[in-house]
């Protein structure tokens, strides 16, 4: 590569050269900043050196307030304090998206004079960071009148542009770190769910085996229960494991037993959301009710009815969910001769998980089940608006 030839007659102005290098250095430092505090520390030092001001502040927009995050000055300014955007010049600069150049602060009505009286400040420049929708501002202050000139304004504006990029980088890094943390959290969560599911399958296997009359009976009941568990998982997966809809879970539990001739099914109540863990035990509880209805109850005969209704009272607080499962039109009901796992699950499954109380009655005209549970983070009622 040929050596650069210096054009005769043009010599780089030493002052311009020096401040250019200083600016480049600041931009490099800002490019490496990882936190807002890093940015603030770089800006307050660099802005003061490059503008030659007696003091510099770095102000962040915090909702409808300006937050004097950092400062470097010959005397104390407002570090750590927050003021309404409408009551300070940094707020004005951020709201207008314009630089304020004020040669005499006590002659300018935009300045809250009381806040400045204890300080050394007589003149200032306040420049917003980011032209569109400013997120911060940099202030430069002088102890004499008429100090800031065009050159200082231009230099501060250059620093402000580099700061805007640096703050965007900081946000990007923060959101990346957050995503990575979220990913690790999801993996842990998944591991937890898989282990729980394994445990649940083993528990169901044990309990089903303990009461099964034959290998075939075991296989059928076990299959049905695991399928029910799988349906609960599918419902939750579709909703990205956020929550579950109580009404849909009731419908899911009954879906394997529905026939074309079952005119008699009511599933009615307000929108109620369940946390994933509670959703699994709720569906398992309903599954046992539905299985019992299909084998011995209302769903074992054409014309039998199942009415599942629920309501929420006292919402929002303390709030109570009351759910009723009523069968009718089936064969006469007799209480089971022994307490199996299904009955235990109905009485104590979901209810135990949500601190609820249950009442299971094998009335001759049909099974009746009633559950009363307090609303909590596991059960919440959704108030429909604009319905």
């Amino acid at each position: 590569m040929p050596a650069l030839q210096q054009t005769p007659g043009i010599e780089l102005d030493a002052d311009v050269d020096g401040s250019l290098l200083e600016l480049v250095e600041v931009i490099e430092q800002l490019a490496g900043a990882r936190t807002v505090e890093d940015v603030a520390a770089i800006v307050r030092t660099a802005a003061r050196r490059i503008s030659g001001a007696d003091g510099v502040t770095f102000v962040l927009r915090d909702g409808d307030r300006c937050w004097y995050l950092d400062e470097e000055a010959i005397g104390p300014l407002w570090k750590g304090q927050r003021f309404p955007l409408t009551a300070c010049i940094s707020g004005w600069a951020m709201l207008q998206g314009e630089t304020a150049v004020i040669p005499d602060i006590y002659a300018d009505p935009r300045i809250p004079h009381d806040a400045y009286r204890p300080t050394f400040v007589k003149s200032l420049i306040m420049t917003p960071v980011r032209r569109e929708n400013p997120i911060a501002a940099i202030g430069a202050y002088w102890a004499e009148l008429n100090a800031p000139h065009e050159r200082e304004v231009a230099r501060l504006a250059a620093i402000a542009r580099a700061t805007a990029t640096a703050l965007a980088n900081v946000q990007l890094i923060a959101s990346l770190e957050e995503s990575l943390e979220r990913r690790d959290e999801l993996i842990r969560e998944l591991d937890h769910r898989v282990k729980n599911t394994m445990s649940a399958v083993i528990a169901i296997g044990h309990r089903t085996l303990a009461h099964a009359a034959s290998p075939e009976a075991f296989a059928n009941t076990f299959n049905d229960r695991i399928r029910s568990l799988a349906r609960a998982h599918e419902h939750l997966a579709v909703r990205r494991w956020k929550d579950a809809d109580l009404g849909e879970l009731v419908a899911l539990s009954l879906s394997p037993f529905r026939r074309s001739d079952d005119g008699g099914l009511t599933i009615a109540g307000p929108a109620v959301r369940l946390r994933p863990e509670a959703a699994v035990s709720f569906l398992m509880t309903c599954h046992e009710l539905a299985t019992n209805a299909a084998k011995y109850g209302a769903l074992s005969l054409p014309g039998g009815r199942v009415d599942v209704t629920w309501s929420v009272a006292g919402e929002p607080a303390p709030g109570v969910l009351t759910l009723e499962w009523r069968e009718s039109g089936g064969p006469p009901v007799a209480p089971p001769s022994r307490r199996g796992f299904g009955t235990e699950m109905i009485r104590r499954g979901f209810a135990r998980d949500v601190d609820g109380e249950t009442d299971l009655e094998f009335a001759p005209e049909g099974v009746r089940f009633r559950l009363v549970a307090p609303l909590s983070h596991k059960i919440s009622a959704i108030t429909e608006t604009g319905a």
């Binding site: 937890h192 445990s199 528990a203 169901i204 309990r207 863990e277 699950m345 104590r348 499954g349 209810a351």
Partner: protein
């Protein structure tokens, strides 16, 4: 056997399905279920309200996000032996209970029996 001789066990497990199964397993091993609770506050209240502490306890470690350790402390203060059940043994190791017996979840019947027998061994 007098009433005092009945070995009864406290179960703390947040998932009802697993709790029901654990209760049945314990009953099959000849234990009486003294109580079965799903949360720290419920278990502590249960202990407080009870005149005679249970003979032993089986404690699931992670109860829907809250750790069972306050219950373990209350049991230790009453000299009730207990065994943890957890899918995450490192959580117990990092707690103040690292020396305590721990069962891996899903809990194996034989391991449960051995752990409970060891709890009641005279010079444990």
């Amino acid at each position: 056997m007098s009433l005092d001789d009945v070995q009864n066990v406290l179960v703390v497990e947040d998932e009802s399905l697993l709790a029901l199964d654990l209760e049945c397993a314990l009953e099959e091993l000849g234990w009486e279920i003294a109580g079965s609770l799903g949360g720290v506050a419920q278990a502590l209240n249960w202990l407080k309200a009870r005149e005679r502490p249970p003979t032993a306890a089986v404690l699931d470690v992670n109860l829907g996000g809250e750790m069972v350790f306050p219950v373990a402390e209350a049991l230790a203060a009453r000299n009730v032996p207990f065994v943890f059940a957890t899918g995450y043994s490192d959580v117990v190791n990092r707690s103040g209970f690292s020396g305590r017996p721990t069962l891996a979840k899903p809990v194996d019947r034989d391991a449960l029996k051995r752990a409970l027998d060891a709890l009641l061994a005279p010079n444990q």
